[in-house]
Amino acid sequence: MTTTETPMMTLVEATRLALDDALAADPSVLLLGEDIADDEGGGVLHVTKGLSARHGTGRVRSTPISEQAIMGAAVGAAIAGMRPVAEIMLMNFVAVCMDQLFNHAAKLRFMSGGQTAVPLTVRTVTGAGAGFGAQHSDMLEAWLAHAPGLKVVIPSSPADAYGLLSSCISDDDPCVFVEHTLLYYGGAAGPAPERGSRIPLGQANVVRTGGDVTLIAYGKPVIEAVGVADTLGREGIGVEVIDLRTVSPWDETTVLESVARTRRAVIAHEAVRRFGVGAEIAARIHEELHDTLAAPVGRVGSAFCPVPFAMPMEYRYLYSAEAIEAAVRATLRA
């Protein structure tokens, strides 16, 4: 075994650490969700394990399976000045409480003329590739990014998860923080975050610099994007990889500045391609840089079907590193 200078941490550990630090730092922070307290196992995926023991079941509250009640309680507590973090166990269950999220959390600041802020964070997990089928796997960020008033944040590494979640909790707007099931455990461990670090919302991270094509991603596809950049780098092709980190509001400045230089762009996400976040980004790039572009903007996403169960079908459904690489090469041929 080799030893490394930076300790490693999983996404579960980094997420738990951000929650733990927020609970310790601010008495108005409150966690709500199904099974999140230690009596119920500290969450079905154990993200909140130990937190109720440290901070009490008053502030780390297990709830019944009542997503509307969970989200509504978080909205009400937020307009009363608390900083609730509501866990919606899986992202598909957001559909159950969409009224509270879309009609209330997202709009109460605006509808009240700025009198009632909703400093609420929703944590949820999802992702295909683990055989969870059609109702436990969807990436639904486009639904939420389409709602004025919501912020949508999707981390690609443990350290980013810590810094971004910490920023969400202290943000004065409702934020939805989307974790990926396949990034949770050991295989996707990364350098541990610095305690107390914050990553500003709305700012992208240039993960790799390059001059030939801009590859934009967020969440898990950032990992494949970096792999593609490394592969093409060995052929002398410079791929600039931008991790959006925040899907809404997204960092148009960084993306447009990069594409203005590279004149080529590809967007990759796990959500189905049609009507996806990539369509909005591609449209903005075309609007701003049409005359500069050397090739049409490429888009990579998953197939337009419910997430299938059988493994070969699920892999056919999913975006892939190969699809990203092909899309990048296609823009280079144009």
Binding site: E67, A69, A73, V75, G76, A80, H104, L108, M111, G113
Partner: protein, 320 residues
Amino acid sequence: MTDHLRLYEIMATIRAADDKLASIVMSGQAMLMLYSPRGHEAIAAGVTHDLTPDDYVVTTYRGLHDHIAKGVPLPELFAEILGRATGTCKGKGGSMHITHPASGLMVTTGIVGGGLPVANGLALASALRGDGRVTVCSFGDGASNIGAFHEALNLASLWSLPVVFVCQNNGYAEHTAYAKGTAVERIADRAPAYRMRGVTIDGRDPVAVQEAASEAIAAARSGLGPTLLEALTWRLGGHYVGADFSYMAAEEMEAARAADPVPAYRARLLAEGRLSEEDLAAADKRAGDAVEVAMEFALASPFADPDEILVDVYAAGAPG
């Protein structure tokens, strides 16, 4: 102690405000949807009698009476209803989304049943802080058939939250008569399913409402958890101002109008010798004058500025 003059004056103000707004809409001076609380005046006056300004209220699009009774200032309230820059919400909310935290009016929702889960959150914040506040959540009989009602009642009881759920049962869920949409005889019958106190009262009698609400508020404030109050009344008009209501039984409407809670309470106060005609006339005049002054303010105010549409989307405005 029941403050009869206060109860009456609030009811008279609500009625005068409703008359004024209806005349503004029906005369074409403003184009807006107005959900009249005609028939609900006694409920709002009675429920808010024992609340403090710090206590929270969540209500619905049919909420004018609740706004007035909780103390939302009339000039800003009318200005908001007319979409003026001086409105409580700077013209961004309108009558369905009146918010005025300074009066404790925290949310007015246009989504049937959407307010109950939010009320729990306000009450949870109070419970965690120990600030002694009570949250009152008003909604209609139709709201008791949506899932959010059931999730919210269960959670409020489970966590013994300081909240009072007030179902203003006016006999109609939009156009559907109560019995055609609700399987139980009384909404309050649903309370025991959540191990909650459930009480049905005459919502046209402000004193009965006040006494029942007082008990529920005291219970909530002392940590005994939530109550479901069902206040029975009758909607004295269509779903919204100007709407057809031929689907409502004519003879029942006639009887309901004969039992209109505002004149009925006035007559009762006189008959019981609690207030003199002079006292009541003075209250009527104060109510009428306040409404006139408020409407003059609203009509003289500028419309909300369209350049402001991206302000308040986020704390820092909105991306273009």
